[in-house]
């Protein structure tokens, strides 16, 4: 509330018109109500708290308050050695543990300058794409719940269950994998994995169509999300948005293509962009649609990886794992495309210790959420819920 003084606030009325122009009317004697949304609220996806200043149903401004799930990730990193940090990165974005692990391990591998076996790279891509699908399923399902559609949520979770089973089968854990290790993987995939995974792909394809018909194309859903929370491309970039959020604003930017890592350059996939005929560029629906398209693209990537993955008998996935991780003195910023956007790790090593001097995690949700104040201005409370849902925050990652 820096912009508007209190006296001014009480005589100002913000109205959002049909064409999304914000009109500010003055000298109306209305009173604002402060509404604390969260930290315990069904649609704040965890323990986010929004302090909304409302004018009737219209939100004048919503200020996010974070930190309810702060677990001192960065402080821990300075106390734990490099391989010991991997399980903590799982707990950062607990819906996409594989992706975060991969981002972290790539950062350390860059410092160590070690060579990763090709098969390991393919398995890494497969598991992180699987995890991307799982994560988007949660995002789409919970978005349905935010808008009152309960059934798609359970369909999403039913399908996610199969992905979690697959990942449990290869890593031993369902959500907090610690599967990708610095220099390799904790295990090679089981013998039947390829077959089961291709069965999953066949199983899952019709489900995405069903989900689209049930939720995305539903007229009420479209009406609730289209034209809501529009973020223009340049503002989105300035806010540092990344991932589906940025692509929802129509920016053709995907780290898998623009800053390629692992074996992504060899894979053929489309950067998901919203269809301007179906949605307004940059609105909630666009972000939702981008996630839906990305799931299908991930399936494609998985299929290609299954074809291209070199099969090695008796492959030891730990072959390149260094005995003692002690990088040279230096610093690195390395990032990966996570389901929620760019997750980067800035690591400083002093060259002497097996523990990093500084390990900063650039969390995508944290950055995406910072635009909340701007996005919420002049929206209705139900739209506020739609916007929070479309940002798809994981509080574990926001607060770290």
């Amino acid at each position: 509330m820096q912009e508007l003084g209190k006296a001014e606030l009480n005589s100002t009325r913000i109205i959002r018109q049909d064409d999304n122009r914000v009109v500010i009317e003055k000298d109306l004697d209305t009173e604002y109500m402060v509404l604390s949304m969260g930290p315990q609220h069904p649609s704040t996806h965890g323990v986010l708290r929004l302090e909304c200043i409302t004018d009737g149903e219209v939100v004048v401004e919503a200020e996010p308050y974070l930190g309810y799930l702060h677990r001192c990730f960065e402080k821990y990193c300075e106390k734990v050695d490099y391989p010991g940090i991997v399980p903590y990165t799982d707990r950062m974005d607990y819906l996409a543990g594989m992706n975060t692990e991969m981002a972290y391990c790539m950062a350390v591998e860059k410092m160590l300058d070690i060579e990763i076996p090709r098969r390991v790279e393919f398995i890494r891509v497969i598991v992180s794409e699987l995890n991307r699908i799982a994560s988007h399923l949660v995002a789409i399902g919970t978005y349905g719940i935010d808008l009152g559609a309960f059934t798609p949520f359970l369909f999403c979770f039913r399908d996610r269950e199969h992905i979690l089973n697959l990942l449990e089968w290869i890593s031993g854990a369902r959500m907090l994998y610690n599967y990708i290790w610095i220099g390799g993987l904790s295990y090679d995939v089981p013998a039947d994995f390829k077959k089961r995974l291709s069965e999953f792909v066949t199983y899952f394809k019709p489900k995405t169509v069903e989900l689209q018909k049930l939720l995305t194309e539903n007229e009420i859903f479209v009406k609730r999300t289209k034209g809501i929370g529009i973020m223009p491309a340049d503002v989105a970039i300035n806010y540092g948005w990344s991932g589906p959020m940025l692509r929802g604003s129509g920016v053709d930017w995907d780290l898998r293509r623009n800053d390629p890592y692992s074996v992504y350059p060899e894979l053929d996939f489309k950067v998901a962009l919203p269809d301007p005929k179906f949605c307004d560029i940059g609105d909630c629906l666009a972000r939702h649609v981008v996630r839906a398209i990305e799931m299908e693209e991930s399936l494609k990537i998985i299929e290609q990886c299954l074809d291209m993955m070199p099969g090695v008998d008796g492959f030891n996935s730990r072959v390149a794992i260094p005995k003692k991780v002690r990088p040279k003195a230096g610093e690195v910023y390395s990032r990966a495309e996570n389901p929620r956007g760019e997750v980067g790790f800035y690591i400083v090593s002093d060259g002497k210790s097996t523990k990093p001097l500084r390990c900063k995690a650039r969390s995508s949700c944290f950055v995406n959420l910072s635009a909340m104040k701007d996005l919420s201005r002049g929206q209705l409370i139900p739209d506020l819920v739609a916007i929070i849902g479309s940002i798809d925050i994981v509080l574990g990652e926001v607060d770290r």
Partner: protein, 359 residues
């Protein structure tokens, strides 16, 4: 019209039956539907909702208490009865307590005019339909009382939304029902059913015998969803926006009363729609030649069966919609009411009038 002679015989006879000074018959007439609905509403409405939603979502639903979880809701009632009855310190105690009571009473008073068969009705008012519509709208007062009395911002939002919604939707709903009243030429619920019963079963129902009736039927169905705060119009309780809307602060038995009232009015509007457009207790089966299916399936007991089945069917459709659709936004709700349903209701009104004059 041999039936009309026997109409209400049971209830009339019963209400005259006094055991000494105690009006036993009257108690039975008043209590039987109420007990039935209360039992239905709590146990099988909730149970049905949970099971139907579960099956639509590839889940099992309640399974643990009793075979197939049949006793689950009883267990829930026991739990709710044992819960502490909390009244927030800052709440307006009187309104807070009276709110659920008004809702409960409002929703169950309407059952007085609901005919459970050709011989059984609480009170066959000649303005029965008018009474039902009016008394169902009483819920608004309860919602407003509880929402305001809770002294909770979310509850207040829910209450204000609810009042706006229910009052608006009264208009298309009433006009749609008026179309039915024009077709039947009466406001008595019993006469509605009589007018729609006949040897050809469902062919006598207004929905099938009148080419315009589908329009008021649809309009009333949609509007009735909004009046009972069911999805996709459940914005007063909108659990993802307003936590639980107007009953955010309620717990224990008061909370259960909201549930009772919700399921009660669900059955009420289903009853009204099946009486006005689908013949109420009239059997849908036609007489085929000498095979008198219709006659066989008519009568007081069959009547109760048919109207309850029709009510169940509409409740199923309500649940089906709820577990399929997202929720509308508050302004879209108003758009739907004032810009879609109300104009169409007027069109239906005029068309019905024209049809009734020239048919």
């Amino acid at each position: 019209m041999s039936q009309s002679i026997s109409l209400n015989t049971w209830s009339d006879a019963l209400s005259g039956f006094n055991l000494g000074w105690f009006p036993l018959g009257l108690v039975i007439v008043a209590a039987v539907p109420l007990v039935f609905i209360a039992l239905y509403a709590l146990t099988y409405g909730v149970y049905g909702e949970r099971k139907i939603s579960a099956f639509m979502q590839d889940r099992l639903g309640p399974m643990e208490v009793g075979p197939w979880g049949l006793l689950q809701t009883l267990a829930d009632i026991l739990k709710l009865l044992q819960k502490e009855d909390i009244v927030p310190t800052a709440a307006d105690k009187f309104l807070f307590v009276i709110g659920p009571l008004i809702m409960f009473v409002g929703s169950f008073l309407a059952f007085v005019v609901l005919p459970f068969g050709p011989a059984f009705i609480g009170a066959d008012l000649n303005v029965g339909l008018f009474y039902a519509v009016g008394i169902v709208a009483l819920e608004v007062v309860g919602i407003l009382a509880s929402g305001w009395g809770s002294n909770n911002k979310w509850a207040l939002y829910g209450a204000v939304r609810s009042v706006a919604q229910i009052v608006s939707y009264e208009i298309p709903a009433s006009i749609a029902l008026l179309c039915g009243a024009m077709m039947a030429g009466t406001l008595s619920m019993q006469q509605f059913c009589v007018a729609q019963s006949g040897p050809y079963g469902f062919m006598h129902y207004y929905l099938f015998s009148n080419p315009i009736a589908w329009l008021p039927f649809l309009i009333y169905f949609i509007a009735s969803l909004a009046e009972t705060n069911r999805a996709p119009f459940d914005i007063p309780e909108a659990e993802s926006e307003l936590v639980a809307g107007f009953f955010t602060e309620y717990s224990g038995m008061k909370f259960a009363m909201f549930f009772l009232a919700e399921y009660g009015s669900m059955f009420m509007v289903s009853g009204i729609i099946s009486i006005v457009f689908l013949g109420g207790w009239a059997s849908p089966l036609p007489n085929i030649g000498s095979f008198a299916l219709n006659t066989m399936t008519s009568g007081p007991a069959w009547g109760a069966f048919w109207i309850i089945m029709k009510g169940f069917f509409f409740i199923f459709v309500q649940m089906w919609l709820r577990w399929t659709l997202p929720r509308l936004r508050v302004d879209q709700l108003m758009y739907l009411c004032w810009k879609v349903l109300t104009p169409f209701a007027f069109v239906a009104f005029v068309l019905t009038a024209v049809w009734e004059i020239y048919k």
